[in-house]
Symmetry: C2
Subunit: 222 residues, 2 copies
């Protein structure tokens, strides 16, 4: 087979917002609020997972949600109906949130008294991985229908994530999807990430996700 | 229910590359090569659709493929094995291609004698919609598992597309997916786009896609 030509067309448009992110993270740590940056492709089931999580944990943790989208506010209404304090962030066409945008959102949300805030980032496997938002933990969701090859094609997202949730496991059988292959591909990029297969629909694996959240909140506040 | 706060965090980072794109489009028109900008989320089945298309049409059309990814070159090898002249474009973390990057790719591919070139854009529903690459037609793929609400959340992608291919229709029944709802949501943003439900796996709808391609190539060269 002919060797494929690979052409680098790199351009550098990434602003350095690391200092702002670090200051925000320290401030949230001091007040005992854990911010989770939740990232995924469009349609991976972020909002469905969050809704189930709110139903399960709202009695024990005070939870806020910032929904980021280029447009619409349907997701914020959904999570609000599950009992979360919620705001909608519009990015105006931007494909990610940076630390300044996150801070602006947190100010509007009001973090006082919150144990846990989810930032539901823009549906995208590229840009959100590149910007530190000031979150304590990065969690990504890969839905089984997207395929187990995704760590090869979106390596940075898998590199930066503390937890990889594999969603829609109830339908994995209808796709050419292998959890074992996925785990191998994740490990190529990230030896440490926890990998949790779940189905928000059947409840499979959800208890492990709730346990992960409880433990991380405890450790963050310790 | 409380009214959700909506905060605009718009930033303008989009360069104007419209002139370069228009010049490229005219040059391709003069030489009788139709460039198609193929856009979608990660894991929507772009490469599978392209492979089937190459198998079906390579005898009647000379087809080239540019695979754009932030990393990896697995897709370029796949389409090459289906008989296409292929190059891999690495965007170095960028979430889209602009006209200059596309032109660079075309130069490396070599368009002489090609009837049709597919640019398989980076898997992303946001950035690629914002940049004119110089393509004659914009085609987007939405896979049924992603959900029929996506035109509400990624409106620009649906606004700019000439054709919306709905892929993985063979598994649509396992998801909360309604083709009728999708069509309604697309129409809110785009009254003209053709909508084609397909399954590259079962072959459902693929003939309509091939007919669309044949007709558009004929019209482009007329």
């Amino acid at each position: 087979m002919d060797r494929i030509k690979v052409i680098e067309v790199k351009e550098d448009v990434l602003a350095n917002n690391d200092r702002a992110a670090q200051a925000l993270r320290e401030r949230l740590h001091d007040q005992g609020t854990m911010l989770i940056n939740l990232m995924s492709s469009p349609g991976s089931g972020k909002t469905t997972l969050l809704s189930a999580t709110l139903d399960a944990l709202s009695d024990e943790l005070a939870i806020g949600v910032m929904e980021a989208d280029v447009d619409s506010d349907v997701d914020a209404y959904t999570v609000q109906s599950h009992g979360a304090r919620a705001v909608q962030l519009h990015t105006g066409g931007m494909c990610h949130l940076d630390a300044a945008m996150t801070e602006q959102g947190l100010r509007e949300l009001g973090t006082s008294g919150l144990d846990l805030v989810f930032l539901e980032n823009v549906g995208n496997l590229i840009c959100p991985a590149e910007f530190d938002t000031g979150a304590a933990r990065k969690v990504m969701i890969l839905s089984a229908p997207e395929g187990h090859d995704k760590p090869l094609k979106y390596p940075l997202m898998f590199e930066v994530s503390d937890l990889v949730i594999v969603s829609k496991m109830d339908v994995a059988q209808y796709f050419d999807f292998s959890l074992e292959e996925l785990e191998k591909n994740v490990r190529l990029r990230n030896p440490h990430a926890t990998i949790l297969p779940v189905s928000a629909k059947t409840g499979e694996g959800m208890d492990a996700w709730y346990e992960w959240l409880r433990r991380e909140v405890r450790q963050w506040r310790a």
